[in-house]
Structure formats: C-alpha cells, structure tokens
Symmetry: C2
Subunit: 343 residues, 2 copies
DNA sequence: CAAGAATTGAGGTGCGCACCTCAAAATTTG
DNA sequence: CAAATTTTGAGGTGCGCACCTCAATTCTTG
C-alpha cells in the first residue's frame, strides 16, 4: 500500500499536524523536526496524493492568454487552441481565458498588464512585442505572485518568467538550410519578406537565415528584408518591384507568421518562374499551398502544443511543482506536403 | 460555484443514489430517470470533479510496455521515456513498467500476451511485428478488458485497439521528398538499407519513399532494399558490394530505426564521395552524425511523446473518458542540424 | 388483485489531505 | 528562575464523490 500522511507521521515520529506544517511550508517548525520529516519522506518514499490535495484545497485556477487583436490565420489557430484547452480543463477546476488587446502601443500593453487583478488570476501567458515598459509590467506581475509566461513572442527573456516558443534564430537557420538545399547548385537571389522587422523574433529569424546562407550557400544572395506592415497594397507594390528588379530571384522566404498577403503578391506577379518558397506556421492557407505545391516547406511551431505547454507550466508553478522539461520543448517543425498528416 | 452531484440531484429531481447509478452506469435505472439526469447535466453544466473521483475510487492503474529485447539506441531512448513517465506518474497512483521479450518468434510473443494476468493490468502498449497469432492474442486481451495500444510497430491496425505512431508510408514519402530535393538535378542511384523487409513498417516506408521518387524525381533510381539482419559483418559486405557496383550512387536511405551499423559501413567504404544521407529516428548516433554533417536529415518520431501518448490513451480508456485527439497525433519530424534543439 | 420484480431514496462510510483551534510541552529570554 | 515565546500534538471539519445497505415505493405479470 502506498504510504499516506499518517504513515509518514509514524515513520518520522511526529504528529500529523507537524507533517502538515512541513508539507505546506507553514511556520513554527523546528529544524530538527523538518529534518526528521524530510528523512522519513525519503525513507518510505512518500508522495502526496495529488487528487486528495486538489480536493482538499478545492481551489480553482485562473489563467489568461493575452493575445494581439490584429493578426490573421495563425492567431485564429491559437485562439482555437485556447478554446480547446478551456474545454478540456473545465473538469479540472481550471478557467482559461483569452484576452485580445492592441499591441502597437507598448504603453497601452503595459497599462493593461498593470491593471490585472493579481488575486483573481493565477497566471498570464503574454504574447507581446519587446518593450521596456512591457518588460517592467511583467516583472511587477511576477512580484505580485502571478505566474508569467512569455508566449511565442520576441521578448527579451525574463529570469523570473518562463518562455514558451521556439528559438527563432534556429527557426530561421532551419529555413535557410531548407532553402539552400532545395535550390541546389543554382545561383540567384532570395527575396525575404516580413510584416515588420521591428520585432525581435523577425530579427532573430533573419539572422539565423542569413548565417546559414552565408556559411553554406555562397552562390545565394539574401536581399534586404521587405516589410509589408500587413498592408496588402504596399506588399503588392514592393514585392512586384523587387521581383522585377531581380529577375534572378530563386527563392522567397516569408518570415512572419502570416504568409498570405506576401505570397499572393508573389504569385500574381510571377506566374511561370519556379521559385522555392518557404514560410512560417501552419495555417489553412499554408496547408493548402503546401498541398498545391505552391509552397515548398513550412517551418512551424504547433499552436496547440504551445497553449498546452503554457498552461502546464503555469499550473506547475502555481503548485510549486517540478515539470517535465522534455515535454515542454516546442519543436521547430519542418512541414512538407508529405508529412502534413491531417487528423 | 461549480455544481456538485448534490446540486445535480436537486436539479434532476432525483436522489443522490440515482445520480450515482447514472454516473457510474449501475443497473436498475429507469429510462425516465436516466433522461431527467442527462437533461439536468446539460442544463446546469455538471462536470464530475476528477480529483474527487480519483480519491473516492482510490484505484491504482497498471500499464505495461511490451518491448523487444533486441534493439539498439532507439530502444534505449524508448526505455528512458518509459522510466521518465514512471517517475512522473508515480504521484498519480499509476504504475508503469516495461517488459522486454524476444520478438523473433510470433508464437512466443502471443504466448506471453496470452499469459498476462488481466486483472492485474489495466493496459498494455505492445511493440511487436505483425503476425496473426499476435493479432489474436491482442484481441483476446481486449476482450478480457485490458486496454491495448499498438505501439510504434507495423501491426495491422485493430479496430478495438488504439495505435500510437506515425503513418509509415508518409514517413517514407517525407524521406523521399527530402532526398529528392536535396539531390537536385543530378542523376543517380539511391541505396536503401533496412534491418529487415519482413516488417510491415519497413515495407510501408519503402513504398512511400518509392512513390515520391518515382513521381517527382525520375532521374533517380531506387535500388532493391539491402537487408542487414542487424548483422554487422553482413551489412559491411552487402553495402560495400552495392556501392562498388553502383558508382553513380548519390544517396543512401536507411529506413530502420538503427542507422549505426549500415552507415558505419557506408562511411568506411566511401570516404570522399559526397552522398545525401537520410535516416530514421533521433538517437545519440544520429544526433552526432547530423552535427558532423555526415547525415543530411533524420525523419523521427519523438519516443517520449509516444510513451506519454500511449499512457494518456490507456488511462482515458480505463476511465471511459474522451481524449484530445490533436494531442495524440505523433508528428513525422524532419530533423536537420539546425533544428536539433538540445534541451 | 396479489405476488414478484424492478426502481428509488435515505443514509452511512471512507478516500487522503488542507486547514483550523486550542491546549500542552519545550525552548528561549530577561 | 519565572515569564514570554516557540514548537508540538490532538482533534475536528470538509472537499466531492464512490460504494454499500436496507427499506420503501412503483411497476409487471399471471
């Protein structure tokens, strides 16, 4: 039989009350008693029954995802992931919500974060661009006892918070390797498109991409990043112009999550010439384009996994529990037409 | 406040005893009462508290992985995954064990499976090659109330069991696409090595690989599969001979989980000539070879994820619970040097 | 309509732990 | 050494549910 707290009390030669004080880190425990209990835990292999703990505590957890208002299909996938998790966790006394706020003004984001009621919320997963104000607001949240996860965004990593997402330098490098190897011996230029190069993740992806191309594929030349600012007209214009000025373009790399606008522009200008095209994130658009062989590869991070991972982390931190690191590593996935695997 | 069984009883206008009968599918419930309870569950949004259920049931789950005795590094990774899961689930009254049995004689495997004590075990995850006898033994286990998962192996899929693992045809196709695109325009032959072509998964991978090469890369020719039978001497011999007879070889595809023996043979014969090499499964060997750029890509299925998935499935089946399908899909990962991401 | 069967309700117990109170014992302090 | 303080123990309650018993009620069936 698995030992209970009562068995532990006997083994340690103390009362149940003292066991309770030790296990729940209550005050008024002598070092001697603490030692005896710790030793007994080791000796008899005591492990608290999480079901009993959960029942006795009878606590409901509240976690919030803070996501941008703007955003295209990938954001929808994320929202879907949050909804799915909310349903799945309803049974476990865990409330999951998603807030959408405008991310263009860091001051506004910081204000929102500061305004969060810290005893109504156990954790937040924040997807916001880097800014000192946001950074400070996050730190203050942590100080007030809210578990913070930096979520899929190009934030400077905080010591006191967890990060969920891929290494964007590596993601860019992976894209670079795929582009380089798919093109082969041919010489030519690579058009690189981004929504904005202000974001840290875009910068890191670009750096990773360039590092591989420069080191391994000297016959290829990366053009300066084109920024669409999520503006369709602007995207059409600059992409058309760039492709016309560079008839020796052999590849297009879209490093933002949303590839629809730039690639539509590419395909409208450029009908016959075969380009190697690599984009980021699995969305209905990129899925379809992979199936149609209009995109060669997609570098992705699974949004559902990211959401679940953030929740597991916040939950574990709330309970002062360890977590299984290997399960929380978000993979840099390489998707081809062949390994899409629809469920 | 979240509704409890008591609230549900009130809402349905029945007693707690009837609620208990309905929830736990006990006999002697009139259709009328069942309907009233079902309606009330919907109406007030009742969800059983899993912590309370677990505590009251006070059941310990026992799951066993049945793995082959032979096998190299990938099997070690699997065992490590099982060990990790065992530790993680110890708290949840779940015992996880791994049994190693010889898989060469299907009769022996079937006998082992038949000998399993079905009330001492809640579920088994079996990694065994296809055979009618094993298939029947698994079916009998299911009939006796043991949850069965067909685990990472080329079994014919059973209706009454779950499958954890990738679609091997798609995995082979993915390998084919990578090989084809990495080689580019060049003409040449592809050496394909397998431990054995008796296994269903090897056959499926080969079919997937061929289908892509034939359809998209007519300049490449797939040679007949070389079978090593896990014999180092034999591998050296046949691989050397094949490479010498086919000086126009441009790629090697190893479709078994263990790439060490065949690739060592390749590298020893073939020093200078640059070959595109694709193998399966992430192991210390394949990791190192990727880092050293002696392998170009690895097609992998995460063993840790597979183990956790199998356990989640067996647990959910035991509790008659639904599970989150999206979480249980094992991805066909494409690993390059760039996206290895050491933890 | 009576006897049998099926259904329902009331009530109790226990799962393992958190959280609380109060008194007793041990230790520290002036 | 006495008083103040800290530490410890005993004991109780409740979390939400599963599982059990027994009596009361309703429904079948010949």
């Amino acid at each position: 039989m698995r030992p209970t707290a009562k068995d532990l009390a006997e083994a340690a030669g103390v009362s149940l009350a003292t066991i309770d004080r030790v296990l729940n880190e209550r005050p008024n425990v002598s070092p001697k008693a603490a030692r005896r209990v710790a030793e007994a835990i080791e000796r008899i292999g005591f492990v608290r029954n999480p079901a009993a703990v959960a029942l006795a505590r009878n606590k409901t957890y509240r976690f919030r995802f803070v996501l941008p208002t703007s955003g295209d299909q990938y954001l929808s996938e994320l929202i879907a992931g949050v909804d799915e998790a909310r349903e799945a966790l309803r049974a476990d006394s865990t409330e999951v919500e998603a807030a959408r706020i405008a991310m263009n003004d860091p001051h506004h984001v910081a204000k929102y974060l500061t305004g969060i009621d810290h005893d109504a919320l156990d954790g937040v997963a924040v997807m916001a661009p880097e800014s000192p104000q946001v950074r400070d607001a996050l730190l203050r949240l942590v100080e007030r006892g809210v578990r913070v996860v930096q979520f899929l965004s190009g934030q400077e990593r905080l010591e006191s918070a967890d990060y969920v997402g891929v290494d964007n330098f590596a993601a860019g490098a992976t894209a670079g390797k795929i582009v380089g190897r798919f093109i082969g011996e041919r010489k030519g230029k690579i058009v690189i498109v981004s929504e904005t190069m202000m974001a840290l993740d875009s910068i890191q992806r670009r750096l990773g991409f360039d590092s591989i191309i420069n080191a391994h594929f000297p016959q290829l030349e990366c053009l300066p990043s084109l920024e669409t600012y999520a503006d369709e007209r602007r995207a059409d214009l600059i992409i058309q112009r760039t492709l016309q000025h560079n008839p020796d373009t052999v590849a297009v790399y879209v490093l933002s999550a949303e590839a629809r606008i730039p690639l539509t522009a590419v395909w409208s200008t450029q009908e016959a010439r075969p380009l190697t095209i690599v984009a980021h994130e699995r969305t209905p658009f990129s899925e379809q384009a992979l199936m149609d062989e209009r995109i060669d590869a997609v570098i992705a991070q699974d949004p559902g996994h990211a959401v679940r991972s953030a929740l597991r982390i916040m939950r574990a931190r709330s309970d002062h529990r360890e977590l299984l690191a290997s399960q929380e590593r978000i993979r840099i996935e390489v998707l081809l037409k062949e390994n899409l695997q629809f469920a």
